[in-house]
């Protein structure tokens, strides 16, 4: 599974993208967030305020109860500020 981080998530987790093996028992975005936040200080800090996290699975915006599986591209980012 490929994980992408944008804007302040990239800065706080100190990584732009990484490949991970989906841990056993992680079936949705919520589970993935719990697992990522437990990996270390930067991740815990990045994912502390869940109200401000937006997520895309395979480049489609989804809610936290969306399913994830190996091979997916999952991206974490703050609310968008284009234009």
């Amino acid at each position: 599974m490929k994980i992408l981080y944008f804007a302040h998530f990239r800065e706080r987790a100190n990584i732009a993208e990484e490949d991970i093996v989906l841990p056993k028992g992680v079936e949705d975005v919520n589970g993935l967030l719990d697992w990522l936040a437990a990996r270390g200080e930067g991740y815990a800090d990045a994912f502390a305020d869940r109200d401000h996290i937006r997520v895309a699975v395979n480049q489609e915006h989804v809610e936290f109860d969306a399913a994830v599986k190996d091979g997916d591209e999952v991206a974490f980012f703050p609310p968008m500020t284009g234009g």
């Binding site: 992408l4 944008f6 804007a7 302040h8 895309a56 480049q59 489609e60 915006h61 991206a75 980012f77 703050p78 609310p79 968008m80 500020t81 284009g82 234009g83």
Partner: protein, 150 residues
Amino acid sequence: MTIRVQAEDFDTGAEIAKISASSSNVGGVCSFVGLVRDADEDKSITAMTLEHYPGMTEKQLAKIEAEAHQRWPLDDSLIIHRYGRLEPGEQIVLVVTASAHRKAAFEACEFLIDWLKTKAPFWKSEETPDGNTWVEAKATDDDAAEKWGK
């Protein structure tokens, strides 16, 4: 229907001329250009850097543009959005819509800029005298997007 996501600047006049000439049915062309300001409320801004999600950005812009063509009788449309470091006065985004009549062109143009602000994966970081800060999403932008429904 055209979408371009690029670091380079664009020539608004040339783009409008191209769309104006695209069909003899075009009776009105509407455009919006977004620019970098040198201040946001009371803090001064020396530059901003736009980051985006290559791949998803193009998909989202294409979806938003297709939605505009569903809702209004447009002959053509164009969205250009820049990324990278931009200084005050520089152009960020261009939206152009062309239709037989002005109402559709005006409304579709406003719809496109309202929706892309909250639905296209771009993020702005501002350089200020106190350091760099990520721009937070504004409730007024959410309201502007929501007035067009889902």
